[in-house]
């Protein structure tokens, strides 16, 4: 009779043991293995597990690669754009739906629907939409916008979208002034224009999810709070700006964390939509890992890049988890 002889604590431990063992092997064990691979000489199909001399050379090589520098830049820019767009749009939709009297259920489903699609589908569709030859650029022609612009003397509007290699708002010179040796960066630190359509596609897919999060939060804010504000003479705008949106702050944090790990790990959407992009304008670390591992057979380099991805995710997730645990206590 195990239940009688073991205390509740031991019972609990026993209950957790299978998942602990499985997670231990398949998550932490393999994270450790990947880390080990990143320190070895394994750079062809033939397995070579001798340690590299000097030990961290693969990481040093990787950080010097212009492509990897561009990947880090893209991850940062994409994260900012994507989270900014998604939260902005999701919050707006939630507030509009919260105020709407008719058609609420219908529109909630409509906006949430893209979330149910796979990123690959989204990527392929938006690839066609942003194709400079056949996509939305045709609308500029059909709607006569280009004719108007040409007569005004500006010339037709024909953005390259995901094929545009330019990087705007470059901060290289500022960086060079601040960081010694900053002028040796081989990439332009700025916003790659080609990344904006990708962020738009990701926003399209996930803003419905953000909206659902906020709708949940809004339903938790009682009518009493709104009434009290209105009695105090707050305008509707003021009500949202000073009361409701600040009250939604915990939702915003939770949503941002969830979106962050989507954007740090993103692969399928970018891979289907634009690939590495012109001059690596839309390359991300996950594509780098895939190509180095499975095309170049540089297992150590791919493993090193995936370790960097893990560390980036941890930088975000770990403080959040610590906060949660503290709150729980």
């Amino acid at each position: 009779m195990i239940g009688r002889t073991l205390g509740p604590r031991k019972q609990g431990l026993l209950l957790l043991l299978p998942s602990l063992v499985l997670t231990g092997i398949f998550v932490y064990g393999f994270v450790g293995t990947s880390f080990f691979f990143s320190l070895t000489n394994w750079r062809t199909l033939a397995v070579d597990l001798s340690l590299r001399e000097p030990l961290w050379q693969t990481y040093a090589d990787m950080l010097r690669m212009p492509r990897f520098q561009a990947d880090l830049r893209n991850t940062f820019v994409f994260t900012v754009l994507f989270i900014g767009f998604s939260i902005g749009l999701g919050l707006t939709l939630a507030i509009l739906l919260d105020r709407a009297i008719r058609g609420r259920g219908f529109f909630r489903s409509v906006f949430l629907f893209p979330y149910a699609l796979s990123f690959i589908v989204t990527g392929v569709v938006w690839r066609w939409i942003f194709n400079p030859e056949t996509g939305i650029n045709l609308f500029f022609e059909i709607l006569g916008i280009n004719r108007v612009l040409t007569t005004v003397g500006i010339g037709p509007l024909a953005p390259g979208w995901t094929t545009d290699p330019s990087v705007v708002l470059s901060v290289n010179q500022a960086l060079a002034a601040v960081i010694p040796g900053g002028n040796t960066f081989q990439v332009e630190w700025g916003v790659p224009v080609a990344l904006i359509p990708v962020a738009i596609a990701a926003t399209w897919q996930l803003s419905g999810f953000v909206m659902a999060m906020y709708l949940g939060g809004l339903s938790g804010i009682g009518q009493a709070v709104r009434d009290a504000a209105r009695i105090d003479g707050a305008s509707e705008f003021r009500l949202y700006r000073s009361i409701i949106i600040p009250m939604l702050w915990p939702i915003t944090i939770a949503t941002a964390i969830i979106l962050l790990h989507v954007s740090l790990k993103i692969f399928d959407l970018v891979f289907a939509m634009s690939g590495v992009g012109p001059g690596f304008a839309t390359d991300v670390p996950a594509i780098f890992v895939f190509e180095m591992m499975f095309k170049a057979a540089r297992y150590n380099l791919g493993a090193a890049a995936s370790m960097v991805m893990l560390v980036l995710s941890c930088l975000i997730i770990v403080p959040y988890l610590i906060r949660l645990v503290r709150k729980g206590e």
Binding site: G3, T44, L45, A46, M65, P66, G160, Q186, K295, A296
Partner: protein, 432 residues
């Protein structure tokens, strides 16, 4: 499924787990039994597009005529140059589950990636039985041999260094291209076309390898076959003056491309050439397959010339098949390879594929004017391996070159490009 906690926890928890394990083991066992009950041969390739699949089918049907009992498993995965297939193959090889035979490129790719780690088995006896040592040229044999033993049966040959042009379009603008061209002459023509409002060069490099073909064509054209071969044994450096000049020439060519090149695939650029919205295209002769499909006539609707400076050189892109070491069906696989090397099969295959035979004794009258020209240049020219399609350098360098090109096409930093290539060549062990 209800799991009761408490008294009998151990046994109840374990039961579904054991059932699962038993199921997995049973289904694996069943799978392997099915495979061994009748004879099969699994052929792994990335030939899925119209002409490619049709060409592959000619081999399979030749095989089925001889061995109707054996089931041919066509394990092909779409994606140009094997971009999607190779990751799958790599996983299967490292995981000890090889296909019987797989498509690969001669040269470094087969020898370093598959032969050196011991994934492929030698084919010397097959070559001797079939007399292939006599019908394949030595330069080609050297690209499939390690320690004197061949490891690959070559099925087709493409020529990479061809400059294609829309003949009516050029005539319309008063331009005639003879049998050879220099880069200076090409630039003069391009300037002339540009003045007349025609985009001189076509490109579709949404897959970066396409502009890589133009780069390696330019490289061979400027530094010559011997110096180009030297790049892969270390006697030529990427920072040498003549290579630098080739890079500068390539950069100049980039200025004449259609503006939307980054949005197009290589074959969409062929469509542009056919429609006449650009005039010339430096690309391998898989382009020819597109012309054939569009029912165009050799030397009337389109013309060709060796990429400037590369007359007398045949930049070789070709495919062959291996025999896996530890292949599940070695006997059937050897027969499949034997059929791939037969003269008639090679003729049938290449007529579909738009390429020429690896054998030198194919019946020339079955092929059109362009392919006959290609055969002449194959027979008389210096054969050099492609780097873009993996024959000249290891996969690591191939990827590094693609990456360097991705940056260079946008940034045009010739110094950084040359330095990166030199560094990556050293890291990949070229010339060691």
């Amino acid at each position: 499924m209800a799991i009761a906690f408490g008294n009998s926890m151990n046994s109840t928890c374990a039961a579904p787990l054991w059932a699962l394990i038993a199921f997995v083991v049973a289904s694996c066992g069943a799978g392997s039994q099915n495979q061994s009950s009748e004879s099969t041969v699994e052929v792994f390739s990335w030939w899925t597009s119209g002409s490619e699949a049709a060409a592959l089918e000619t081999v399979f049907s030749a095989y089925r005529r001889t061995f109707p009992e054996t089931a041919v498993i066509n394990a092909s995965i779409a994606g140009g140059g094997g971009s999607a297939a190779r990751p799958v193959l790599q996983t299967r090889l490292v995981g000890g589950n090889p296909p019987d035979t797989w498509q690969t490129h001669p040269g470094t790719e087969v020898l370093e990636q598959y032969v050196a780690p011991g994934f492929a088995a030698p084919l010397t006896d097959l070559y001797e039985e079939e007399g292939w040592f006599e019908v394949f040229p030595d330069a080609l044999l050297n690209m499939v041999r390690a320690q004197g033993e061949p490891y690959l049966v070559i099925l087709n040959l493409h020529r990479s260094n061809t400059l294609w042009y829309n003949k009516p379009l050029l005539q319309q603008h008063g331009i005639e291209i003879g049998t050879a061209l220099t880069h200076e002459a090409l630039f003069a023509i391009a300037d002339d076309l540009q003045r007349q409002g025609v985009t001189p060069l076509c490109m579709g490099d949404s897959g970066i390898w396409a502009t890589g073909i133009m780069f390696e064509n330019t490289l061979v054209g400027v530094i010559g076959a011997e110096r180009y071969l030297g790049l892969w044994d270390g006697s030529t450096q990427f920072t040498d003056a003549d290579v630098r000049q080739a890079i500068a020439t390539y950069a100049r060519l980039l200025d004449y491309l259609n503006k939307d090149h980054a949005a197009l695939s290589w074959d969409q650029a062929v469509d542009k050439l056919i429609q006449g919205s650009c005039a010339m295209y430096s690309m391998g002769d898989w382009v020819y397959g597109e012309f054939v499909q569009a029912n165009l006539e050799d030397d009337v609707d389109f013309g060709w010339v060796a990429h400037p400076g590369s007359e007398g050189t045949y930049l070789l892109v070709s495919d062959g098949f291996t025999l896996a070491r530890g292949a599940p069906n070695p006997k059937e696989t050897r027969e499949m390879l034997r059929i791939m090397g037969q003269r008639v099969v090679q003729e049938d295959f290449n007529l579909q594929k738009g390429a020429i035979c690896a054998r030198t004794d194919c019946d020339r009258t079955r092929f059109g004017p362009y392919l006959n020209w290609a055969m002449d240049t194959y027979a008389s020219g210096v054969l050099v391996p492609t780097v873009i399609h993996g024959s000249a350098a290891p996969a690591a360098f191939q990827q590094a070159l693609n990456d360097a090109l991705t940056s260079f096409v946008v940034r045009r930093d010739e110094n950084a490009f040359a330095r990166t290539l030199a560094r990556e060549a050293a890291m990949a062990g070229i010339g060691d």
